[in-house]
């Protein structure tokens, strides 16, 4: 018997659910308290935003909304580790990552509020739009990374998909390309245990989702997705590796979807309350807060002040969103083609005329 190849999937976690360090060797980021506070603030701001968005949907002021409750550490790590010139190809709930990169909460609301202008977001103008067609964004990131290689740019493309998304052909295709072209690519699988009603166990026979990267010869790592420090270290290393020509990575961040899939879903139909309760014990924000508080970098007073600030900022964003009038009817046509074909110009004129007549 000869061995053709061996592989090992590493798992990393630095903070236990109560925010106590595990082991002695914490990465440097664990000591950068200012930055950790910034990220803590990002995470808790995002949660305020999330709560508000759900409320807006419940009161008929927003369409279907995909909550990010419980994913904040994963998303904050992704967004904060990237450079502005890198490219993010998100799925549809990575708000913390996007906020860090400059997308405004009002953009997110616009999108779920049924207005294309949400995708014309502020900040990272080269970042991809939200990608509802599951895991397709993974290949867009791969294509971006290929563009960077072709042009010799020191940029990295990052995409995010879910545990369900990691079953989709596109995810596999992306990791295959990542390996074949040695791309500056980081594929993050945010494993929140559920794809709508389908549990992680039904998606695959693989023990970890990280190991899927072995199929393409990628670097693979599994981390505690509720541990900001582990997530961030993993991102830093994968980005650095990608940027310096070391190739593509798959990072599985193991977390939990604490909310329904979207506001259109009712998770009580398919999962136990007990499971959700248990998952709350591991959630990322309290954990980081405990760590920071213990080190004196955060306090109840700061918490209170920050929460108030968050409320205020979120309210501003909501107001901006709510006061944005719908696009005129011709908006349907105005960004369809760069060179407008005659028949589109004609249909546009007809639609405008009808609108004038019938409203």
């Amino acid at each position: 018997m000869t061995t053709a190849a061996t592989f090992e999937i590493e798992y990393r976690q630095y903070l236990d659910p109560d925010g106590h360090p595990i082991g002695k060797q914490l990465p440097a980021i664990a000591r950068d308290l200012d930055h950790l506070v910034e990220l803590y603030q990002l995470m808790s701001f995002t949660r305020v935003f999330d709560t508000k968005s759900i409320a807006l949907q419940r009161t008929g002021k927003l369409g279907t909304y995909a909550s990010c409750l419980g994913h904040e550490a994963a998303h904050a790590a992704i967004g904060s580790a990237m450079r502005p010139e890198d490219v993010l190809a998100p799925a549809y709930r990575e708000y913390a990552a996007q906020f860090y990169r400059g997308v405004k909460p009002r953009d997110v609301l616009m999108y779920w509020g049924g207005d294309e202008r949400g995708n014309d977001f502020s900040g990272p103008r080269h970042d991809f739009a939200w990608s509802v067609p599951i895991a397709t964004q993974c290949l867009h990131a791969a294509g971006s990374a290929l563009a960077f290689r072709i042009r010799g740019e020191q940029r990295v493309a990052v995409s995010v998909c879910g545990d369900g998304g990691s079953s989709k052909a596109d995810f596999y295709a992306a990791l295959n390309c990542g390996g074949a072209f040695e791309l500056p690519l980081v594929l993050v699988v945010v494993n929140n245990q559920w794809a709508i009603s389908v549990p992680r166990s039904r998606q695959t026979g693989a023990r970890t989702l990280a190991q899927k990267g072995i199929a393409g010869g990628l670097h693979c790592l599994q981390v505690d997705g509720n541990d900001l420090i582990a997530c961030r270290e993993a991102m830093d290393q994968a980005l650095e590796r990608a940027r310096s020509g070391g190739g593509a990575s798959v990072i599985e961040m193991v977390t939990y979807r604490l909310h329904d899939h979207t506001t259109a879903d009712d998770a009580r139909r398919y999962r136990d309350d007990a499971e959700v309760k248990a998952a709350w014990q591991r959630e990322p924000i309290g954990r980081l807060r405990a760590y920071l508080t213990r080190l004196g970098a955060w306090s109840d007073a700061r918490e209170e002040a920050w929460k108030a600030q968050c409320e205020e900022r979120v309210n501003e964003e909501v107001d901006a969103y709510l006061s944005t009038r719908a696009q005129p009817v011709e908006a349907m046509f105005d960004h369809l083609y760069g060179d407008v074909p005659l028949e589109i110009a004609q249909q546009r004129a007809l639609a405008v005329a009808r609108e004038v007549k019938h409203g």
């Binding site: 369409g63 049924g114 294309e116 895991a135 398919y270 369809l336 249909q347």
Partner: protein, 326 residues
Amino acid sequence: MAEITLIEGVTQALAWEMRNDPSVVVLGEDVGVNGGVFRATVGLQEQFGPWRVIDTPLCETSIAGLTVGMACQGLKPVAEAQFEGFIYPMLEHLMCHAVRMRNRTRGRLTCPLVVRAPWGGGIRAPEHHSEANEALFANVPGLRIVIPSSPARAYGLLLAAIRDPDPVIFFEPKRIYRQYKEEVPDDGEALPLDVCFVLRDGRDVTLVSWGATIKETLEAADALEAEGISAEVIDVATIKPLDFDTIHESVAKTGRCVIVHEAPKNVGVGAEIAARLAEQAMYDLLAPVERVTGYDTHIPLFRLEMKYLPPVGRIVEAAKRTLAAS
């Protein structure tokens, strides 16, 4: 006998056929415990177990390929695409295999499968959840395409689709999933897969539609009637193969035709109907055929989507133009 909605017609047909034919299996994303994101498969996994109502991994390529494989090996799979906007990864298996299997093996292997998908706009859904892409499939030989527009037709046509020995795309107009209820006897009676439904007799103009816009089309017929214009209304329902004879007969009588659909106009299914009228009914026509359709742009996100979908007014105006022309 209970009154049921269109989507309940779907559920009732699935349950009937699963009870009566052990080779019928349902598969898709969230079709099991969750009973489908629209609840079309609700209760089925409880009744028939997880090996006949199968939650698949999240991969439409897989669903399509598995479905073809199962169908060739003697099952009658009914696959769900969670939304018609997610059906694209299924195309290679449908186009290269499902619709050709019988032909390319001279009947040795066949693909008696159904792909169901909620279809169309108008429910304030997120991006990619509102497409009406029946035209994608309409040029493809070996396929049947069905779009019911009432609870009874959903029940009878879905039974027929499952029993049909070849692949059937079954699009469910989600906007009218729960629009109204009617009594639909759960008697296992299928409807024919190649006959249009004349929903309303009329003399002056023929209105042809399918799917959710049947609602607006019927309302337009009411509005026209109020003005003394008698409109015949045809629900095509079985888009492919097309029962042109029923449409032709009606147009031969009325001399006028308005085709209504929510998909874009250009090379939509309406084009085929208008083309056949141009070819076969030219001397019957008293006025040019009219198409009232979605615009040739993407259905907008929901703040504007009702401006995209053809409203009653556009149908009425078009009908009146056909009357003015002649």
